[in-house]
């Protein structure tokens, strides 16, 4: 069974869990993800592998509570078990030949960006991390990023943490100051990644964006995770989740991401009410 070995709250809406999943831990690489179900009637949701320990056979996930399933997940505690936990899925981040990389993360996307930064750092790549949050209460993984980066820039929308402004502002400043990156890796809200990619296109810096479309099976069977990259249909679960950011049709991806909004809102409120009653 997939026991929750550790549970820690990183901020009011972001939780870290370490799960006992030896088969996944054995193969996991940064950039890959898992799909879990909390219970026998649960939805399948994808979450990035934030960290793994092959020896202990554990896999760490970091998730933001945004809807019904993440809410249910957050109500489980150490010692509880998850119904299903399958992976590692998707392709690992490509790191070959990289010397200097800017990792640009936004919000909970930083949880996905962190293992990539860590791996690059371990490989001896010079890592500049630029992370952005709405305000200081939402900041996660600051120490971890600092430990893996030779430069760390913290941004917030309201200026309560680090500098006030957007990650694109910080990235632009670094590029303008003469930093030469052979790749930018960006992970966060679609709108943020869209603007990061637009910026790096101007400077002709190869850029990879990690895409998080809605998924079901995660094995290439349903096509629900499809997106358009360079005019071609790709399945994020098997061809990705990382793609050439300059070729992604972000507008289409944003429209597809909103497909189930009304349903999810409703399911979330129901789940919240359910837990209120229990309390």
């Amino acid at each position: 069974m997939f026991e929750i070995l550790e549970k820690r709250s990183l901020n009011p809406t972001v939780t870290l869990m370490r799960i006992n999943a030896p088969k996944v831990a054995r193969k996991a690489e940064p950039g890959q993800f898992i799909i879990l179900r909390t219970d026998a009637d649960g939805e399948r949701i994808p979450l990035t592998i934030a960290d793994f320990d092959r020896e202990k056979g554990s896999v760490t996930i970091i998730f933001q509570i945004v809807g019904a399933t993440t809410e249910k997940l957050n109500h489980l505690n150490e010692g509880d078990c998850l119904q299903d936990f399958v992976g590692p899925l998707g392709r690992a981040t490509e790191t070959e030949g990289l010397k200097k990389v800017a990792v640009v993360g936004g919000g909970v996307g930083c949880a996905i960006a962190y293992p990539v930064a860590k791996k690059l750092h371990e490989l001896g790549v010079e890592v500049h991390s630029i992370v952005g949050f709405r305000n200081k209460d939402l900041v996660i993984l600051e120490d971890e990023f600092r430990a893996s980066s030779s430069k760390f820039v913290l941004m917030s929308d309201d200026g309560t943490a680090g500098e006030k402004g957007l990650v694109t502002d910080a990235l632009k400043k670094l590029i303008e100051s003469g930093e030469k990156y052979d790749r930018v890796i960006t992970i966060g809200p679609l709108i943020m990644m869209k603007f990061v990619c637009r910026l790096t296109k101007e400077y002709e810096i190869p850029t990879v964006a990690s895409m998080n479309p809605i998924m079901i099976d995660g094995t290439g069977m349903c096509g629900g995770c499809r997106l358009t990259v360079g005019g071609q249909t790709k399945f994020a679960c098997v061809d990705g989740p990382e793609f050439d950011g300059h070729l992604i049709d972000f507008d289409e991806a944003m429209a597809r991401g909103a497909m189930y909004k009304p349903f999810e809102r409703h399911a979330y409120e129901e789940a919240c009410n359910l837990f209120k009653e229990v309390k």
């Binding site: 193969k27 399958v86 349903c222 249909t233």
Partner: protein, 461 residues
């Protein structure tokens, strides 16, 4: 005295306008009286023409003779000599092009209802108190099966009966393959599939769900590190095809796999399900096979007005005749000789309508098949807020790309010989992974054949 009625016993069904609002099984099955009466229509032909039409050569006259006598247990034994999934095949085989197409009673009337009798016998057996299963004595050899669809289940069952230590590895959280995630409850109740899997477990077969071979573990690791001496790949043909027309990624466009997976695997049709589904108010299904019929009938049950758009005519529909019949009765509207060329969007990025080219059939070509060709300038628009692409699937490249020395066809099918042996020693394959999307009975037959060959291979090693 045989029953010389030219017509077969009607299958009791739920009334069309009742069943098109629920997901319970449509066909209710023969009673004992009906089964015996139908069995008496069989002339017990010496040369068994019907059996030659069955891909696994069930001894049809022999089992039907037992049904006629009321010896249902005996009939079951005869069927299971050749088939491991009679409750499934009796329901979903395209009988009209297989066994029943060869029945002599079909020359001057309706053929004997072989499929319905097979289903009756299997259901009768499943309703009996379960006899304790004798676990075969272990023979000390380990075999692995990848995929838990009909080919994998059949292969695992036959190996387990011979005493092999068998483990099935399945990517999804539920076993059964298409039987679980694709074919809807109203055509094949999931309890039947789970019963089959329960039977295998009783024989000692282990089922490891949540294991994506090629990701969680590779074929080579299974052989070298986990000690499996021989492996059967029954990973199906699950990769959905799209038409590559403009608008295919709009909101409201699904592959049939996604639509059916949400409904069958994730139970999105049930009140309060955690997984959402949107069948819209007007759904257009593109395609004409079993998959298209299933998607259409699911959409209908979820409350949509449903159109099937197919580029040839009714005569060419590849779906089982019964499904087409049932779909029509349930109020599904067919638009033949129409081919989508573009999906138009609303302002906020949802499907608005499907722009279709009208077609006509050309003169039959060398292969004897009439090709649909566009009628110049003739287009129609079909309003829709949901479009389901159901134009076929191909084998998933994952196993091929992670298994050294496993040869495949250009289109992705694994290359295997008559017995299922692939280009890699000890590795066998069968079912849709080899043939491309086909049928349950062919997949099951391939699994059985491979099991026999794997047995030989492991015994001679």
């Amino acid at each position: 005295m045989p029953n010389m009625s030219p017509t077969r016993n009607e299958m009791p069904v739920q009334a069309p306008d009742v069943r098109n609002k629920n997901f319970s099984e449509v066909a209710l099955g023969y009673t004992e009286e009906q089964a015996i009466d139908e069995a008496k229509r069989c002339l017990n032909c010496k040369n068994k023409p019907c059996s030659t039409g069955c891909p696994v050569q069930i001894d049809i006259p022999a089992f039907i003779a037992q049904v006629a006598e009321g010896n249902f247990a005996e009939a079951y034994k005869i069927i299971t000599k050749s088939s491991s999934l009679p409750a499934v095949c009796g329901r979903v085989c395209p009988q009209e092009t297989q066994c029943e197409s060869k029945c002599v009673r079909g020359i001057k009337g309706e053929p004997v209802a072989i499929g319905r009798l097979e289903r009756f016998v299997a259901d009768w057996h499943n309703a009996q108190p379960e006899a304790p299963v004798e676990k075969p004595a272990p023979n000390g050899h380990k075999a692995a099966v990848i995929g838990s669809g009909p080919s994998g289940l059949a292969c695992a069952g036959d190996l387990a009966k011979k005493g092999y230590d068998v483990t099935i590895f399945e990517a999804l959280h539920v076993a059964g393959g298409v039987l679980s995630y694709g074919i809807p409850e109203f055509r094949l109740p999931k309890s039947i599939v789970q019963k089959e899997i329960g039977g295998l477990k009783a024989l000692g077969v282990k089922v490891e769900t949540n294991t994506v071979v090629g990701k969680t573990i590779s074929v080579d690791e299974l052989m070298k590190e986990e000690g499996f001496e021989s492996i059967f790949i029954g990973s199906g043909a699950g990769l959905p095809r799209f038409m590559n027309i403009p608008g295919e990624n709009l909101n409201g466009v699904y592959s049939a796999n996604e639509f059916l997976t949400r409904i069958n695997l994730m139970k999105a049709y049930k009140e309060g399900s955690a997984t959402p589904i949107k069948a819209g108010t007007k759904a257009v299904i593109v395609g004409g096979g079993n998959v298209a019929m299933d998607a259409a009938r699911c959409a209908k049950r979820l409350g949509a007005e449903v159109y099937i758009v197919y580029r040839r005519t009714e005569a060419e529909l590849p779906a089982r005749a019964e499904e087409v019949e049932h779909a029509k009765e349930e109020g599904i509207i067919f638009k033949f000789l129409t081919n989508p060329v573009e999906i138009e969007a609303t302002e906020d990025g949802w499907v608005k309508s499907v722009h279709c080219q009208q077609m006509e059939l050309s003169e039959p070509d060398a292969s004897g098949r009439a090709k649909p060709v566009p009628i110049e300038g003739a287009f129609i628009d079909v309003d829709a807020d949901c479009v389901i692409m159901s134009i076929g699937t191909s084998p998933n490249p994952l196993i091929k790309s992670t298994t050294e020395g496993l040869d495949t066809q250009k289109w992705g099918g694994i290359i295997a010989d008559e017995d299922g042996l692939t280009s890699k020693e000890g590795v066998y394959a069968g079912g849709d992974a080899v043939t491309g999307a086909a049928t349950v009975i062919l997949a099951m037959g391939a699994g059985k054949k491979a099991a026999a060959a794997m047995d030989q291979y492991m015994q001679n090693k």
